[in-house]
């Protein structure tokens, strides 16, 4: 069954049809929420709220990209949660290091132990630096650089102007660069090397 049919059925009250959409998009929604909120437990709550809100407001979806529409719902839920908490998620590197189960997903089959260690260090550093960004800058970075939305899509999702998206993304990147260099000067060149090893060039 194609997505459009699933949406139409879900709009008429077919929860099973909606749940098929959930299965398709839950990894995306959870990871976006996780990158924005910085906390997996909070991301879980936000992701669940997103799907509940999406189902209840499904009749207001009038075509176009369902993925973008869902992203807007998720981003709004993140904004709500951030406002509720009124603090930027800040977790120390040590606390992140304690989440042993989170490193398994970083392992690549061809990795040497040293390569894997570098991957883990880089992932932790990026998480740390993302969390240090202001909320608005972090959100556009997650949508743009992590999830690959273009400027127009980000502007639609966050309900801001194109100029604001450009400005926030640029400032976020400058801060991330400084942060990564502060945490470990070789991270970026290492990342660049890591990216070139066995990966197709962009």
């Amino acid at each position: 069954m194609d997505e459009e049919t699933l949406i139409q059925r879900a709009q008429k009250g077919d929860v099973a049809a909606f749940n098929r959409l959930v299965v398709q998009y839950q990894e995306l929604v959870f990871n976006v929420a996780y990158r924005i909120m910085g906390d997996p437990a909070v991301a879980e709550d936000v992701a669940q709220e997103t799907f509940i809100a999406a189902y209840q407001s499904l009749r207001s979806f009038r075509g176009g990209s369902f993925k973008s529409w869902l992203m807007r719902v998720a981003t709004n839920r993140c904004y709500d949660e951030l406002r509720r908490r009124k603090r930027r998620p800040q977790t120390s590197l040590d606390e992140i290091m304690d989440e042993n189960e989170s490193f398994a997903f970083l392992r690549s089959p061809n990795d040497s132990p040293e390569t894997h260690r570098q991957r883990v260090e880089l992932a932790l550093a990026i998480e740390q630096c993302l969390k240090s960004l202001p909320d608005d800058q972090r959100i556009v970075t997650v949508l743009g650089d992590v999830e690959g939305y273009d400027y127009n899509e980000i502007a639609t999702i966050t309900k801001t102007s194109l100029g604001t998206v450009k400005s926030r993304l640029s400032r976020a990147r400058a801060k991330l660069r400084e942060c990564l260099q502060a945490l470990g000067g070789e991270l970026l060149p290492a990342a660049y090397r890591l990216d070139n090893e066995g990966l197709s060039a962009r």
């Binding site: 207001s60 450009k166 400032r171």
Partner: protein, 280 residues
């Protein structure tokens, strides 16, 4: 809408970074892109900076995704049918209706101002034409009418003249009675004088003349017009003409009030619906 304010205060360095960032994302206009590439070709430091930015973007893109900790599927027993949100569904309609009502309200208000600007001429012109319909009073009333017309614009006051024309308030009364019920009603005229005023048109004409000569204050301008209109009591056909203008104005006023109420209600509903849309 207010994002412009947030972008104010960008330094030259920030603008330079923004240009670099937008170039990396292929978000520059063709002319800007060309200019940037020309600059890039001759600046190794800029090239190195672009390379670093590219590396950062690639790193972010390749961040691995975490597996979902559990399923986020909804329980059919709990979430049965999606809850109906009429405001949400009516949002586009509300938006259009609010805009249309606003337009109509502005239009009727403008119409009211436009018609109100010509209102003083109406009662004067009407009695003037009414006078033409009367018989022996015509000869005396016409000059009075002609005298009255300039006084519409007169700004001088002549309380003495007013005193010398004791019949004037009585003349104002019939005018109010004959149907200039809007602003003219402010004259506070008394109707009992009506019957006396209808007798002896000559007397009326004579008294109208000095009253007509009188300079007018704001209310007296209308009073003068009303002085001419006593002739209207003798010319029944006149009455409908006089009444159609004020009736039209009151109808317009009613429409304006109705539109204003409708606009306020629609605007409130529109904002409620917009809040629901924004909370999606």
């Amino acid at each position: 809408m207010f994002d412009l304010w947030r972008d104010k205060g960008s330094t030259a360095e920030e603008k330079r970074q923004e240009l670099l960032s937008a170039y990396l994302d292929n978000a520059l206009a063709p002319v800007e892109r060309e200019q940037f590439e020309t600059k890039l070709a001759g600046d190794p430091r800029l090239q190195a900076e672009l390379q670093q930015l590219r590396a950062l973007k690639l790193t972010m893109q390749r961040m691995p995704r975490r597996r979902v900790p559990r399923s986020f599927a909804l329980d059919p027993a709990v979430y049965g049918r999606p809850k109906s949100q009429p405001l949400l569904q009516l949002y586009p309609v509300l938006r259009g209706a609010t805009a249309l009502t606003a337009f109509l309200l502005i239009f009727t208000l403008a119409l009211g101002v436009f018609r109100g600007g010509f209102a003083p001429a109406g009662p004067v012109a009407a009695p003037a034409s009414e006078v033409a319909l009367s018989n022996e009073s015509m000869a005396e009333s016409a000059p009075a009418a002609e005298a009255a017309i300039p006084f519409e614009a007169a700004a001088t006051s002549a309380p003495d003249l007013r005193d010398s024309a004791p019949a004037e308030p009585e003349l104002s009364a019939p005018a109010a009675v004959t149907g200039q019920e809007t602003a003219e009603g402010e004259q506070g005229a008394d109707s009992p004088a009506l019957e006396g005023a209808t007798e002896g048109v000559d007397t009326v004409a004579v008294t109208v003349a000095p009253a007509g000569e009188m300079g007018t204050m704001a209310t007296e301008a209308v009073g003068v017009a009303e002085e001419v209109s006593p002739a209207a009591t003798e010319v029944p056909p006149v009455i409908p003409t006089e009444e159609s203008s004020p009736a039209g104005m009151s109808l317009l006023r009613s429409v304006q009030i109705a539109l204003a109420i409708a606009f306020i209600l629609l605007l409130a509903l529109f904002f409620l619906a917009r809040r629901q849309v924004n909370r999606l």
